[in-house]
């Protein structure tokens, strides 16, 4: 099977270049990650992140034939040849398929990703009805893979100012939690021409999320709350 992989090692390369691989796969190689490991067994210089190999850790996000996704849950049989692989767009390349995620995590941290509750915790659990808990579905499952934010044009242009779809999804995850008492603070934190309002509902984020989440919907809900709060 043929692959075209963007390679870059700042230790020796002036700039990134594409390297072609033609590799014989085994029947047990089902996912793109299996193929990459096969390639790595003959060329150990290819650098990528990976861990869980089942789509839950968020390590191996990359740009696969033009679309962001996780190598470990992308079936080889679904891919057109040559398979073109690039690091996630819009973030600095550290090496080969490995990007510097600092900016991405900075935005995640900027939304205060933890439940804020000033009351003394009870002896038992804080109660939450199944209906209230349901509000968190589609939000808490995010694996911070950055497929979405690095597919978002607004994030490309303003990675330092626009929180991006992943961070905003997380922001809404805490707003939606009945145990959290900081909704107003959280909205204040996002009331800014860039942090939230750079989202122009282009929907790339929804299209690429490997967990089937919908950051755009969450962003819409935050915007709605802002408007309601305004009147």
């Amino acid at each position: 099977m043929k692959f075209n992989i963007l390679r870059y090692d700042p230790d020796q390369d002036q700039k990134p270049y594409f390297k072609e691989y033609d590799i014989a796969l085994e029947p047990s190689d089902r996912m793109l990650l299996d193929a990459l490991i096969r390639i790595k067994s003959v060329d150990d210089t290819l650098a990528l992140r990976r861990s869980c190999r089942e789509g839950v850790c968020g390590s191996d996000a990359m740009n696969i034939n033009g679309k962001n996704g996780l190598a470990c849950v992308t079936k080889i049989s679904d891919l057109k040849e040559p398979v073109v692989l690039k690091p996630l767009p819009g973030l600095p390349i550290i090496r080969d398929l490995i990007v510097d995620m600092t900016q991405f995590f900075k935005q995640y941290h900027s939304i205060k990703p933890f439940v804020i509750n000033h009351d003394t915790p009870p002896e038992t659990e804080r109660l939450q009805s199944p209906t209230d808990r349901l509000e968190l579905d589609g939000l808490y499952e995010c694996i911070l893979c950055a497929c979405c934010s690095t597919a978002c044009p607004s994030f490309w242009w303003n990675p330092d100012k626009f929180v991006g779809p992943a961070g905003l999804l997380a922001a809404y995850r805490f707003i939606a939690d009945t145990r959290d008492q900081a909704t107003n603070e959280r909205l204040d934190n996002l009331e800014d021409p860039y942090r939230l309002f750079r989202c122009h509902t282009i929907m790339n984020c929804v299209d690429v999320c490997p967990k089937g989440l919908n950051p755009s919907l969450a962003i819409g809900k935050i915007k709605e709350m802002m408007v309601k709060r305004g009147v």
Partner: protein, 598 residues
């Protein structure tokens, strides 16, 4: 103080190596106490393997019906086939409810009951009233409990301002002439630079090493680094012969299907469509403990009753639960089955086989998370400054077989306990000890050797040889001749691992180098496992020896007279020593060993 090769030194009150559930829980305790703490992790914290845990965390909240920690304790001891230390088990089961509630207060998105309490599902080996009938004890967030827990703990650490060193790989433990632990050497993966992290206390929370087997539910990063580092530094490894084979790994792929599927009502069928567990475990059936279910499955396959064209797997049927339950309680499982087994469990059963899952053994500790080794006649002498928690540690709570949900409980309780012990230790030992003159030299030598090796061995080839050897010689069923041969073979592989060669010489994110270093750790784990398994002449829990089966006078092949003891393997001598199992709980009466039926 000066160190000759001038590796830069950073000083912290405490360092935690590992940012999975146990490391994050320990770190939280330390940060909250105001200590200067550094947490090192090979991966961004939320990518740690705890993220993959599915089924739940065990605690006797009693939200679904009567339950108490004493029953949980009994189940854990019975599950451990009496090899677990009863003081540690009592400690964990007693603390579990508080640990889970605390996690809820941190924001964990647990599933809920109508009355707003945490939803709990049944799980293998967990029972009411000392084995009478199954109980609902597993607190869960759908089938993504580990994900929810790891993210919550990370979030709480962000709140507590914990300092992380992300993508830093610890290489070796630093001990002084007294054997006290003074920190680690570590390498920044992005730059290849090495550094000494000096600390008053060092906590290992590096997780498991399931990658020693060819077929494993474990992530690639589960390479037993903590065990390798400890073994190289002269710390023995405890009970390494005990590896849990989870009954339901996806056939061919190894990816896990949680026991929660059976907890929610899923059942196992052989090739004839028979619910065979009724024969092996009349009371608990498909929810018997894991060693029992895995053994039954392997027996069905061995005796020609497997399913599929080659009769080499078992079917996990859950379509009768209906789409609603599957989509609500087991959405991740459906996703995995469709992706890795090409079946939609709403309609068809999932092909599964027993798959390596969890290491019961590890670095010997007490229930305070302090590392303990035999010294001057005391089998449990504390190593000053050294702590371990989570899968890398062996307290021993899980003995010869861990119950499902008890690992996540262990992470919370032991992580916190280790943290508390560190706080106390630092109060009494506020000064840094002097680094030995040769601190860091072993790591530098290892790195240099790897860098300069020519005509050496390929990392992938040696890794494959190790995984195949372990799989073939030390699996669910163990045979005496295969084990003896296995010891010879794995030592040959270990010799090859001394001569690893990498082509990648870059300083920047050199994954070839990282994989070679990881393999050097894995190989220590593999050797200790094979040697310990060959040595233990009985069947107990997950260690099933064909030559010690159903002997008259021995319950389940277990030999309490000679083998009710922990193994301690030493790398230096390759010898095994023993220490007694602690049958004395902290406050309640001892549970005396008896036959194990489910």
């Amino acid at each position: 103080m000066a160190n000759p090769a001038s590796i830069p030194v950073r000083k912290y009150d405490a360092i935690v190596v590992g940012a999975g559930g146990s490391g994050l829980r320990a770190a939280l305790q330390l940060s909250t106490a105001g200590l200067k703490v550094a947490v090192l992790s090979k991966v961004f914290p939320t990518r740690s393997h705890t993220v993959a845990a599915q089924g739940g965390v065990g605690a006797s909240l009693g939200n679904m019906g009567e339950d108490n920690w004493h029953w949980h304790m009994y189940d854990t001891i019975k599950g451990s086939d009496w090899l677990g230390d009863q003081d540690a088990i009592e400690f964990m089961c007693k603390k579990a409810p508080e640990a889970v509630r605390e996690l809820e207060h941190f924001g964990m998105p647990f599933d809920r009951n109508e009355n707003g309490t945490i939803y709990q599902r049944p799980f293998g080996g967990h029972s009411q009233n000392f084995g009478e009938k199954p109980v609902q004890r597993s607190c869960c967030a759908a089938d993504r409990t580990g994900h929810a827990m790891l993210h919550t703990l990370y979030q709480r650490n962000v709140f507590a301002n914990t300092q992380f060193f992300v993508e830093w790989m610890a290489l070796d433990l630093i001990r002084d002439a007294h054997g006290d632990v003074l920190g680690v050497t570590a390498m920044e993966m992005e730059t290849g630079e090495t550094m000494i992290f000096q600390a008053k206390a060092t906590v290992f929370a590096t997780g498991g090493a399931g990658r020693i087997y060819a077929s494993s539910t474990n992530a690639f990063i589960n390479t037993g680094d903590g065990l390798g580092m400890a073994a190289r530094a002269g710390i023995p490894l405890e009970d390494m012969e005990f590896w849990q084979f989870h009954p339901t790994g996806v056939a061919g792929a190894g990816v896990l299907i949680t026991e929660g599927v059976r907890g929610e009502g899923g059942i196992l069928l052989n090739g004839n469509g028979e619910r065979f567990m009724e024969r092996y475990a009349p009371t608990m059936k498909d929810l018997a403990s894991r060693d029992v279910v895995s053994r039954a499955m392997a027996t069905e396959i061995k005796e020609g009753r497997g399913a599929g064209p080659n009769k080499d797997y078992i079917l996990l049927k859950l379509d009768h639960l209906g789409p609603e339950v599957i989509n609500k309680r087991l959405p991740g499982i459906r996703e995995i089955a469709m992706k890795f087994a090409n079946v939609d469990p709403i309609k068809e059963p999932i092909p599964v086989v027993p798959t390596c899952h969890y290491q019961m053994g590890g670095i010997p500790t007490n229930y305070r998370g302090e590392v303990v080794i035999p010294k001057d006649g005391n089998p449990n002498s504390v190593v000053p400054g050294f702590y371990a928690a989570g899968e890398v540690g062996c307290a021993s709570i899980h003995g010869a077989n861990r119950l499902g949900t008890n690992s996540l409980t262990d992470l919370l309780v032991m992580g916190k306990s280790a943290g508390d012990s560190v706080i106390e230790f630092i109060k009494q030992n506020p000064e840094y000890k002097d680094l030995p003159a040769d601190a860091g030299q072993a790591s530098l030598a290892r790195l240099a050797k790897l860098e300069n090796q020519q005509n050496g061995e390929n990392v992938h080839a040696v890794g494959d040889a190790m995984r195949q050897t372990m799989q073939a010689h030390c699996g669910v069923f163990r045979f005496p001749d295969m084990l003896t041969e296995g010891v010879t073979k794995i030592k040959e592989v270990a010799a090859r691992a001394e001569r690893l060669e990498i082509k990648d010489k870059s300083k920047v994110f050199n994954t070839a180098r990282i994989e070679a270093l990881e393999l050097q750790n894995l190989i220590e784990v593999a050797v200790s496992t094979m040697v310990s398994a060959e040595n233990r002449k009985e069947t107990r829990g997950a260690h099933d020896r064909a030559d010690f089966h159903d002997r008259p006078g021995f319950v389940n092949g277990r030999d309490d007279e000679n083998w009710l003891k922990h193994s301690l393997w030493y790398k230096g001598t390759d010898k095994i020593e023993y220490k007694p199992v602690n049958l004395n709980p902290l406050t309640v009466e001892s549970f005396a060993p008896k036959a194990r039926t489910y």
